[in-house]
């Protein structure tokens, strides 16, 4: 009898717990699970966003495999990510190291370095459009960068940075890094401050200089943090979108296309919702794979 009562009490407890989480589960299912499953479902259809859908099996996927604009866009996103992983994160790490020391006005620097990330991407795009403006009026360069280059004795470097296929993507990648380094800076600074100072003391007693302490103490202790920053950088940069629209509108021919602009274009310009969903599915798989690979690699480093 007691056993039955205990079982009933446990069942009642479980039911109550279930009811408590039910609203969250419902919301999660409506806003995450359903759209996700619907996206996969739509990717097997031809649909213009309204009206009947036509099941076409894997046709969107087979077309996507041969779509060189799509694969180039993956390459462009990878290039932007690579610049961010190296240039952006190296800058963030260097500045975090500098601000971790006892330097004057370090609080001021922390605030300044965190300004770009809190700015809207549209605002950043507008600011950099003005800085990179290639036009002239009354014989004067309108853009700040070209004006600076011209007046500081480098007129040969004056350039149409966003209008030239050779420089457009790199320019966007650098602006993206400028906008993004503050996140890495804050996370890395927080990571550096958690390292026990006694470790450095012990290393110093063992005869390690600053460089050796950095290699053998700072880097190993920072590996988990660096892994998080790398994954966030990859996920963030591969999905760059607003900044590109703000800087080059619908793109410089196809030289500045990235996967999200391709997905947007398939929906907005050509009303191919099914194809856009197929692109989104493939892109999602790529992102998940990249995240797992990054995790695996950093785990290996940690073990080593």
């Amino acid at each position: 009898m007691n056993e039955k009562l205990r079982t009933a009490a446990i069942a009642k407890d479980n039911f109550q717990n279930f009811l408590f989480v039910l609203p969250a589960v419902i919301i999660f299912c409506i806003f995450y699970v359903y759209p996700f499953l619907n996206m996969i479902f739509l990717s097997f259809h031809e649909w213009i966003g309204i009206g009947p859908m036509h099941f076409i099996g894997l046709k969107n996927y087979t077309e996507l495999m041969g779509d060189h604009i799509w694969w180039n866009s993956i390459g462009h996103a990878a290039y932007i990510t690579l610049i961010a992983l190296t240039f952006q994160n190296a800058l963030a790490f260097a500045l975090a190291l500098a601000c971790d020391r006892e330097i004057r006005m370090k609080r001021f620097y922390r605030v300044v370095f965190f300004i770009p990330p809190v700015l809207s991407e549209v605002v950043v795009g507008l600011i950099w459009n003005w800085i990179l403006n290639p036009e002239m009026q009354n014989g004067q360069h309108i853009g700040l960068l070209n004006s600076f280059l011209y007046h500081s004795g480098f007129p040969q470097l004056v350039h149409n940075w966003l209008g030239d296929p050779q420089t457009a993507l790199t320019t966007i990648a650098i602006v993206n890094s400028w906008k993004g380094f503050g996140w890495g800076f804050i996370i890395m600074l927080a990571g550096l401050q958690t390292i026990d100072k006694q470790l450095y003391e012990a290393a110093r007693i063992d005869g390690a200089g600053r460089w050796k302490a950095f290699i053998h103490v700072t880097i190993p202790m920072m590996l988990p943090v660096l892994a998080v920053v790398m994954i966030l950088t990859i996920l963030g940069c591969m999905q760059v979108f607003v900044l590109i629209i703000a800087m080059v509108n619908e793109g410089l021919v196809n030289h500045t296309d990235v996967p999200v602009t391709c997905i947007f274009s398939a929906m907005q310009n050509t009303n191919r919702f099914g194809y856009a969903c197929a692109e989104a599915v493939i892109f999602g798989i790529i992102l998940v794979t990249l995240s797992f690979l990054t995790k695996k690699v950093t785990d290996r480093f940690k073990q080593a």
């Binding site: 009811l19 966003l162 619908e250 021919v253 907005q268 050509t270």
Partner: protein, 429 residues
């Protein structure tokens, strides 16, 4: 436990309430995307309520891209308002109609010997009119109410042309190129436009396609009977190569959004621009002292066909066929397009009115725009349209020519390759 059950019940009641059908009322809801017309629409809605007791809730959703997505999402969820606009291709409008989201307004338009229909510009009505021979399978009729009309032409800055010693605006494409070189010589950028937005580039190019080969050949290209590598199409591409070589374009034009291009022209950074009649309002806000005139794109010398410009309804509202207040919504739109309201809209927003009688009040520049309506055409009134993937390839080809990456012949071949792929795939695109 009781609280949990109560909470669950409330959630269920709320969710069930979401699916309750709406009932007729004295309130109608209008969704629009026009930031520059929001204030005047709100004012007119208030005035309408005072006159009729019908409350019109005007809701703005901008920019237009977001608005367009919102309308599609609302249609999918069957939560469209009483009055809204479909900012999309005619094929999409046809799908909205066939899905039962748009009222057929023909009987209202033609009531009282067609008073309402006759008061509006025919070319404005054509935007949402489906004829008996339409290829979309839509029941013939009028499905939208235009509140203004618009067309896209070339604008020239009188002061900058005078500064370069150019006394009259160009009448031919060759003169335009000659003026371009003259302007460059005195350090003035000849031309700016929002060619970063593909539709503007497409519009500009199609003006010359009509001029060089006439509409039948264009439509035959869409049907797949004429190739994009045809010499006439290559000539269209070649015009862009010529413009590039004569230094016609402002640096960075292919990534420039129309808002930036409007700013450049308003700040007198370029002598010519290509823009729609809505720009009169924009330039007035940015630089009230800007002195400019309007001309159609100068035709190519010796071209066999008349040059056409894009022109049609500017902003068109449709009535939700599922709305319990559809009759009230139609009455409001009829009132909104009556002469007095149209005069007010034209005066306040510097747009061309859709009501013919209100045209007498427009500014001289708008009157110049209005002249262009005689030679206006628009994809929405063509018997068929090119597939969007091909249009995108065409526009990208033009951009590639402007930045010197492709020759006209190469660009034409690129577009033809996309066209052939699309034809091989059937109508899946």
């Amino acid at each position: 436990m009781r609280k949990v059950i109560w909470l669950s019940s409330i959630i269920l009641i709320v969710l069930a309430g979401c699916t309750q059908p709406a009932k007729p009322s004295n309130k109608i809801v209008l969704w629009h995307w026009m930031t520059d017309r929001n204030d005047i629409l709100l004012k007119l809605a208030q005035e309408y309520q005072q006159q009729t007791g019908i409350e019109v809730t005007v809701q703005l959703f901008a920019p237009s891209d977001s608005y367009s997505q919102k309308v599609i999402a609302a249609a999918q969820a069957s939560i469209l308002p009483d009055i809204y606009g479909i900012l999309d291709k005619k094929a999409i409008v046809a799908d909205f109609i066939q899905a039962g989201f748009v009222s057929n307004l023909t009987s209202d338009m033609q009531a009282n010997e067609g008073n309402w229909e006759n008061s509006l510009f025919e070319k404005a009505l054509a935007d949402k009119r489906f004829g008996a021979d339409n290829t979309y399978g839509v029941k013939p009729g009028i499905y939208g109410v235009p509140i203004d009309v618009t067309n896209e032409q070339i604008l020239y800055n009188k002061k900058l042309l005078a500064k370069a010693g150019i006394s009259t605006p160009p009448k031919t494409f060759d003169e335009l190129m000659k003026d371009s070189q003259t302007l460059r010589r005195v350090g003035i950028t000849p031309f700016v436009s929002g060619f970063g937005e593909l539709w503007i580039l497409d519009c500009f190019a199609s003006n010359y396609a009509f001029n060089l080969m006439g509409e039948e050949k264009i439509f035959d290209t869409y049907r797949g009977k004429v190739k994009y590598t045809d010499p006439d199409w290559v000539k269209v591409f070649d015009l862009f190569a010529r413009m590039r070589d004569k230094g016609f374009f402002m640096d960075g034009i292919v990534t420039k959004g129309n808002k930036y291009a409007e700013q450049d022209f308003a700040l007198e950074r370029a002598a010519f621009t290509f823009n729609g009649s809505w720009c009169v309002n924009v330039y007035h806000d940015m630089n009230p002292g800007l002195d400019y005139g309007v001309i159609p794109p100068p035709p190519v010398t010796g071209a066999a066909y008349p040059l056409k410009i894009w022109g049609s309804a500017g902003s068109v509202f449709v009535v939700n066929a599922n709305s319990p207040n559809a009759d009230k919504a139609i009455a409001f739109l009829k009132w909104l397009t009556a002469k007095d309201q149209q005069v007010l809209l034209a005066e306040q927003t510097f747009n061309l009115p859709s009501n013919k009688e209100a045209l007498s009040v427009v500014s001289p520049v708008l009157a110049e725009f209005a002249k262009g309506m005689d030679q206006a055409t628009h994809p929405n009134v063509w018997p068929l349209n090119e597939k969007p993937t091909v249009v995108e390839a065409f526009d990208r080809g033009l951009q590639a020519i402007i930045i010197g990456e492709r020759t006209p012949q190469q660009a034409a071949e690129d577009v033809q390759a996309v066209k052939e792929k699309q034809m091989a795939d059937g109508d899946s695109q």
